[in-house]
Amino acid sequence: MRDLPFVMYDEDQRQILAIVERLVRDANAKGIFIVDRNGQLIVEAGEMHGVDTTSLASLAASCVAATGSLAQIVGEEDFPVHFHQGRRDNLHITLVGTSFILIVVFDERSSLGLVRLRVKKASAALAKAFEDMAKRAERAPASPTNSPFSEITDEDIDNLFST
């Protein structure tokens, strides 16, 4: 009954990171984060070193989830783009495909118009990358030979809690 684990391989990470790094430059962004709709960080790029990405990912996903439910209440399917304007920094959030969230942080070195334009282009590339990722996961389903977890022993689990 449970959803299968969501798996990301090196190749997926590289492909997605390349798109995101290009977007940082094209949009003059401070930082860009990709998060899945369950609140897990997928990749990050830009100059925002040291921000609490775990919190960021969880809050962004919750924000998108809450706004999505609001959309349904007023008769929309979803609100695919969210924009939060601050005094210095702004947040531009877009849904990519059905499962991912693209977060762009930018300041006065960029503009909403530029970010919008570049995000639009990058979204298509990202959607394609996520499709490829899903295909790879289908082709190589977790099995005893390629999943490190099939071999977990009760002892391994106990060891986690020994500290």
Binding site: V7, N38, E151
Partner: protein
Amino acid sequence: MSFINYSSREINCKIVYYGPGLCGKTTNLQHIYNRTNPELKGKMISLETEAERTLFFDFLPLALGEIRGFKTRFHLYTVPGQVFYDASRKLILKGVDGVVFVADSQAERLEANLESLDNLHLNLAEQGHDLSSLPYVIQYNKRDLPNAAPMAEMQRLMNPNGVPEFEASAATGLGVFETLKSVARLVLQELRDASR
């Protein structure tokens, strides 16, 4: 839905603490936060009302250690227990890997516990989940209070299937880690069985 990242060699799982208003879900997370080494925990986020009732959720990321070379992380969430926050509870349950049901042992809260348990069944069913196939444990909290209902009665009403259960007093920390370890263990076993 657990997330296995081969690139950063991490595995993330989501555990949700469910239960009626004021049963002690937030208190569980606070105790875990207070007793965990700084390098193993992230920031605890509490989205709450001015009266310290959970409004949307509490969130606490924990790193447990390594398993087969993978960093094992658990994301703990609580739901808001007050009945009228049901829309938020549904959102938080999305992608859940394991559930802790925190019951309030006070005799006058028996009804509220059962209502919340029904609500949990309903909200999981909406997502195609089912408590019988999900890692799931029960915590009987507030055992320290003089008006706590007898254990036998609570077990009979709330745990007909005999899932792992724990007596607790989250305010002092009694039973809190036992509960967490038990559900984390079930989640990892499930992950193993799913990849076999």
